[in-house]
Symmetry: D3
Subunit: 237 residues, 6 copies
Amino acid sequence: MKPVVVTGPPRADAGVVAALGRQGVATIHEAMGRVGLLGDTLRPVWPGAQAAGTAVTALCLPGDNLTVHLAVEQTQPGDLLVVTTTSPSVDGYIGELFTTALAARGVVGLVTTTGIRDVADITRAKFPAWSRAVNAQGTVKATAGEVNRPIAIGGMVIHPGDAVIADDDGVVCVPRRRTDEVLAACEQRTERESKARGAYAHGELSLDVNNLRGLVEQLGVEYVSWEDDAKQARDDG
Amino acid sequence: MKPVVVTGPPRADAGVVAALGRQGVATIHEAMGRVGLLGDTLRPVWPGAQAAGTAVTALCLPGDNLTVHLAVEQTQPGDLLVVTTTSPSVDGYIGELFTTALAARGVVGLVTTTGIRDVADITRAKFPAWSRAVNAQGTVKATAGEVNRPIAIGGMVIHPGDAVIADDDGVVCVPRRRTDEVLAACEQRTERESKARGAYAHGELSLDVNNLRGLVEQLGVEYVSWEDDAKQARDDG
Amino acid sequence: MKPVVVTGPPRADAGVVAALGRQGVATIHEAMGRVGLLGDTLRPVWPGAQAAGTAVTALCLPGDNLTVHLAVEQTQPGDLLVVTTTSPSVDGYIGELFTTALAARGVVGLVTTTGIRDVADITRAKFPAWSRAVNAQGTVKATAGEVNRPIAIGGMVIHPGDAVIADDDGVVCVPRRRTDEVLAACEQRTERESKARGAYAHGELSLDVNNLRGLVEQLGVEYVSWEDDAKQARDDG
Amino acid sequence: MKPVVVTGPPRADAGVVAALGRQGVATIHEAMGRVGLLGDTLRPVWPGAQAAGTAVTALCLPGDNLTVHLAVEQTQPGDLLVVTTTSPSVDGYIGELFTTALAARGVVGLVTTTGIRDVADITRAKFPAWSRAVNAQGTVKATAGEVNRPIAIGGMVIHPGDAVIADDDGVVCVPRRRTDEVLAACEQRTERESKARGAYAHGELSLDVNNLRGLVEQLGVEYVSWEDDAKQARDDG
Amino acid sequence: MKPVVVTGPPRADAGVVAALGRQGVATIHEAMGRVGLLGDTLRPVWPGAQAAGTAVTALCLPGDNLTVHLAVEQTQPGDLLVVTTTSPSVDGYIGELFTTALAARGVVGLVTTTGIRDVADITRAKFPAWSRAVNAQGTVKATAGEVNRPIAIGGMVIHPGDAVIADDDGVVCVPRRRTDEVLAACEQRTERESKARGAYAHGELSLDVNNLRGLVEQLGVEYVSWEDDAKQARDDG
Amino acid sequence: MKPVVVTGPPRADAGVVAALGRQGVATIHEAMGRVGLLGDTLRPVWPGAQAAGTAVTALCLPGDNLTVHLAVEQTQPGDLLVVTTTSPSVDGYIGELFTTALAARGVVGLVTTTGIRDVADITRAKFPAWSRAVNAQGTVKATAGEVNRPIAIGGMVIHPGDAVIADDDGVVCVPRRRTDEVLAACEQRTERESKARGAYAHGELSLDVNNLRGLVEQLGVEYVSWEDDAKQARDDG
């Protein structure tokens, strides 16, 4: 890997990204066909954090945050910084000085597979941030990686300029050219879910609302009374 | 495993279950003789969540929540849904639509070894829920497992109708026919602890309150001054 | 290991310890030369917890908290109890009765590599506590370990009387005789960071504030436009 | 939990247990309907270990192997000792002295969720043993748990006298009264697999041997050439 | 995700892939600029396994191996099957029947982020296989994923037709169009290492062979005698 | 942390270290009073590896093995290199070139909390090595840590010159000035165990050989027949 900074990637449309942010991570993930999540290990630094922006990507070396410094320069308002490492590291790559700088540049959030520190300050400032760990462990500035090259987190590839949406449920990435299509699918899904919610609140069963009775029968699900089942269990020992 | 739904299991007495809920998980676990916990990996979705109900159990296949749909139909007011899988999965089996349905049916809480999603909504609605993870990852509805058969979580077997109590300290299960006995033991323990608390607040030592001095002597605990100990350490290198 | 209680270790100066507490864990860790952390697995029981005190150390056997009882007696106002085990255990060694006793003795906090229970009560009482897990699992009182001998957590050795500072970012230990020197280094660092913060808030880049441009050039970081990079990637397949 | 030793449980038939042993863990698990495994964390101490016996169960306290001493006395030829703990522990509960004693009593194997030590000696003696870890860490003998009460490992409940079969693929438990039925199902499965193996060795496809073409069509699986797919991907960005 | 099977992807040159296989995983990883590894969790089923082939990729759903059946049909001699899942699963997706079928088709190896079973048989047959776990747990065949679409494992993206090389050190992927360039870099590196090996065997120091003395000086490494260092440590307490 | 290399530490006596090596890790750990282990995560690269030497310690930065290069120069015949990092890293710090160099210098083994690579070559050369992981991931040479300063692994502090013994059961450290005392304790223990082994081989019970009957009675262990216990369980539900 030669150190490189890619400049000026095209970004997903800001309005569409904002609209995706209002849909939330779980809905987008479902609307994309149940893909797009960046795994189950990224958690918000403070509960209730929400962000939707266009990805600036940084691939750092373990225990070395110099590449984050390079990446900050490439951000513009509406971006969301996404950081990972060439081999696993939960060191505290990013603290309050960085989030202060990012906020001053109009960056809307931060997602990292590393650790984060100064979390009390970041929480107080309500800067939206997601990480794999909280960790005071500092890093060096001795080696450089890549900025704005595609990176892969949790099986999902993130390209610079993709839409990244994050909330309490995790983080999802929508490829730049699919944002319109995914937003439309979200809106359809939200409408369907709204109807289901009303039905459930009135006591209807999801087996009926989702027309699952046929499948249940086809799968041969057997209904048996507790008395009969307990008797059988006693006989089987 | 053939798919089966067991109907109409007897439930532990609602009043006793509620009384157990007021005792809390740690006290019940101690009163049962230090057993009954469902391991150390189940955490509340929101801090302060508390629930006590009668178990409806669901054993799902990995990545497939159809069995949860089957289980919901078997719940009645005062129940608490307990979900696990045939092999480990932290996918997001359950979201806000499910908890809305459960709340509408009078179900008092949810415990699952899987992931949960829509946690911002569930937190807002203050529906008590415990899980191994928060995860937006969706599931399919293609295979059916078992409802209201005994399941094992963290070394504890949960039968349908057992009392399940959950709070910030974790989740405990009290077998249906032992609830009276356990409640009585809790009350004795609570009284003893109340006295100890008063003593500690006035500066008494737990070594004295618990009569541990004899044991300490019997175990040959040696008291040595820091100066002597530091000197010995220097000599030992 | 023979059971032993070391009495009367010298403590770090209370005023210096308090001043270190105002600096925070991340700053102290950096000021010490990026060492001193007790690993990345110790988390506060409640967000916002902060404590700075002089260490009383306890080395317990797995599943057995008798040594904690021995350690409490050795505490004095301004101390912070640090607990670990001879082999890994996340059982709930410490609950609200212990923290009530510690608070009554003027102990300022608790750090343990084990589990903690009664966390709702401890949170309500705002007693500062850090642990590897929350766990209702109870322990026995059958074997004794060591009190006020050096222990090692996360690669850092803690001697009795050392300064231990803990906050949302984790836990750090400052050797007793180095507290003055570390505090001075913290103050210098805080001043530098304050200036950087102001610069960042006005849009300056950390590459400039930290004079990193030369290093970036020396490392051969290449800047390339997105169009050129995307074309090269297509050619490489 | 009061310390108790249950004596003289009925055992599964030795001949049927031996026949199950020849079927192997994966086949038995499938024949039981894909249940019965003791999780995915138990590994053989030496590759190629195989054992099939009737369970003597031991539930120990963490870091304390006294209950194993109690359990050894309850073993008889053909038994297999199954050990777990009330809370997780990977201490080295069992070493070569124990396996020497077990071998002398005709015990055919050992399965434990704890650690094992003296593994070079155990390997040399070819005593079949499965554990969660290898660990030299010793234990105390201060508290007693339960022998020959049901225990749960990895979601499966093991009763004393059940058939336990272990090999390189893991460990499976067959309830005592179901051994005949499971053995019959194994034999049917083995026959089917033998036919499939022959077909595969001659180049037939599992899609055909298992009649999966219809399901594939029903699920709407689309076949697309690499050229068309690559073009679409380029268009999507 | 719609179920799709991509047919006929171009493959990396068989001769170059074989030559890469002779270089080994660590050398290739270094020659690529320290990238290309599929993480640190994939281990060979039997020690000494080695394989180099062209990737056929399969993305399965959790607990469901139907997509593996679809993928087998797409393999040709010289291929290596690479399997992962949409959410983490260590179920035993693949056993000896599959490896028998793969061997019959001339497939040279198997890499999967899931579990593998029948490992005694696979070891006996010396079929090269890497997995995250050994696990007897069976799977269903109810849902279909993707075959021969790009997948990401451990931060590396694998395209169908890429060269995949695996040995005791792990698994590395070389993009199809970069195989010549990487092979050439490997050969240069191997030559350099051969010289270094000779020097080391004769007692030369890597500090000299790699010309590191200048860097060491520049970093300000201080040399101090043990006596002086021990004295300082005593003074610091 | 300032980079430092401490030169010429005193070593434990070579003859005593060799004698400790013949006792094995588990025996030494017990003889030291059940302390001294470097945790349960260090595993031999090849089964059957054994080593006993005097520690040269290296504390590296994450993803950077420059400090290992510095440490090699400090080794002399009979030493054993012990490597750890300032924050957790499983990168492949050490490969066959290093072990070739170490062997040429008469170093008897290697213990590292990082990853190791080239394990096929190291296994072929039968160089004794223990690590937390096998990992092809390479490292940089950009920052320096400490050589021959005390380090802590798994709660145990290792000083340069201490005796380190490693085998299939793990790794143990004996402080330099305690080697004679520990060896004597090992010899006593080995004699006792030899007698016990003979008794067990003849069918005696450990309850009797270790005089545990009195303790069992004192703990109130109850013996109950399976029939009575099963009846009680049915009544309890």
